[in-house]
């Protein structure tokens, strides 16, 4: 969906996906009834609010980043929130994704944010993981982060580490290999996209995420095998010596994992 939709259309798109006006008002910390006024063209929303609505339409997976629960150190047990110093501030994430959107950075939130967007409970025992896939040609994404005051390390590497508060938690930007780039052409990632993505990651936690998605969305082995063959069937595995890169893209491992699914 192109940028520049009218606020009324953005609200309409979100409502058609199952949002309620009251829910959106709570999420965006607006006065009760305000979006209703906008919808009836009795109030003119600020450019910032329009940008937020646009972001929600384009990147539903960052919804969790817009609320205060987003945290790199875990959601914590109910009633016992993690110390602030170990959390990536939600205000930073909100500004970051808005800046990226304005700068036409191609990105998708993955790991915990993606699971949350797909309505998949985070598997028990996993370390929290806050990361974004960013198109490798959009490294100005790092400049956006620095402009917001964050420290960015490993700026020219396959993964860059962004730390919004010195000594605090980090968010990881992964610049994936070419076979994964087709995801950037999609407005949002489906459960199948996410399942295949996690299948390809060497991380043991990725297998747990894959299983959580397949259970929640009732994805069967045969369907995923077909999708995998259609999407990544022609991609050759990386040489064995490229063990570090294989951590991010391993078709052989993905086939094995999918074959073990029910």
């Amino acid at each position: 969906m192109p940028m520049g939709l009218a606020p009324i259309d953005l609200i309409g798109a979100l409502v058609s996906r199952g949002d309620t006006l009251a829910g959106l008002e709570r999420l965006l910390q607006l006065s009760p009834g305000y979006l209703s006024k906008v919808r009836r063209q009795r109030a003119a929303p600020s450019p910032q609010l329009v940008a937020l609505l646009d972001l929600l339409v384009q990147h539903p997976e960052v919804r969790a980043a817009l609320v205060a629960r987003a945290s790199a150190s875990g959601a914590g047990t109910p009633g016992r929130p993690q110390p602030r110093a170990r959390a990536v501030p939600s205000s930073f994430l909100r500004k970051l994704v808005l800046a990226w959107r304005a700068s036409q950075v191609r990105f998708h939130a993955v790991d915990d944010l993606l699971l949350e967007a797909l309505g998949v409970p985070r598997p028990k025992g996993l370390e929290p993981s806050l990361r974004f896939l960013v198109h490798p040609r959009d490294r100005h994404a790092l400049t956006c982060a620095r402009t917001l005051g964050a420290e960015v390390a490993m700026a020219s590497s396959r993964a860059s580490i962004c730390t919004p508060v010195p000594g605090g938690a980090s968010v990881i930007f992964v610049f994936p290999l070419e076979p994964v780039h087709h995801l950037f052409a999609k407005p949002s990632l489906s459960a199948i996209d996410a399942a295949l993505y996690f299948a390809l990651q060497a991380d043991e936690d990725a297998e747990a995420r894959l299983r959580a998605i397949t259970q929640t969305h009732a994805l069967r082995r045969a369907k995923l095998q077909k999708s995998f063959a259609d999407t990544y069937g022609a991609a050759r595995p990386l040489p064995r010596g490229e063990w570090l890169l294989r951590a991010t893209f391993d078709p052989d491992l993905a086939r094995e994992r999918i074959a073990k699914l029910p």
Partner: protein, 212 residues
């Protein structure tokens, strides 16, 4: 008693402290490990700017090491599990100062771990990856897979060669052990000076004799 070669690190003090903790725990675990990357190149005679320290570690101690480091208050965060973790010392002043813990699966890195020799790194004996393995690792980078890393590695290779730190025979043997024909071809090109053109630099020539 033999004296080990000494290396002085010009890095963030918090980073050096974290490295000492790592070294202590790795030695307690009797792990196969070695300092790699720019710090290892410095130990062998080529210094270039760096903010971090790469450490290769045998995978068998991964879980235990991470648990022990966290118990000692050293923050270990995953970058690409199960191969790459990172320590960002809390008290660091340089935001890029970090230790990259790399757990290689196979190949030159594993051979290098077995061949590592101890040096005095900032006063503490630590194993350092041999220079031949460092050269071999940089030659293995495939430009068609990771072009930006290839360019960085190429710059290092040319600098190492120009300082007389590339022993072609030793490196060729390592590349034969891992059966990498492409890397062997790049080694020949490096020795012949033809790789230099890819960086837009002219190979260093021997001075002409002034004698008639």
């Amino acid at each position: 008693m033999t004296t080990l070669p000494a290396v002085k690190l010009h890095l963030d003090p918090a980073l050096k402290k974290a490295l000492r903790v790592c070294a202590e725990e790795l030695d307690k675990l009797d792990a196969d490990w070695a300092i790699a990357g720019a710090t290892a190149m410095q130990a062998h005679g080529y210094t270039r700017a760096t903010h971090d320290i790469d450490v290769f570690i045998g995978d068998d101690v991964r879980t235990e090491l991470i648990a022990r480091l966290r118990t000692r208050g050293v923050p270990v965060n995953p970058v690409f599990k199960p191969y790459h973790y990172r320590i960002d010392p809390v008290a660091r002043k340089d935001p890029e100062a970090s230790i990259d813990l790399l757990f290689p699966a196979l190949g030159v890195e594993s051979l290098g771990l077995l061949a590592a020799t101890r040096m005095l790194v900032d006063g503490t004996a630590m194993p350092v990856l041999p220079i031949h393995h460092i050269v071999a690792l940089k030659l293995i980078t495939d430009p068609s897979i990771d072009s930006s890393r290839y360019i960085r590695d190429l710059a290092d290779l040319i600098a190492l060669r120009d300082r007389g730190l590339v022993d072609s025979e030793r490196v060729r043997q390592i590349l034969e052990d891992v059966r990498d024909a492409d890397a062997r071809a790049r080694l020949s090109d490096l020795a012949a000076g033809t790789l230099d053109q890819q960086l837009g630099v002219r190979p260093m020539r021997k001075k002409r004799s002034t004698k008639p």
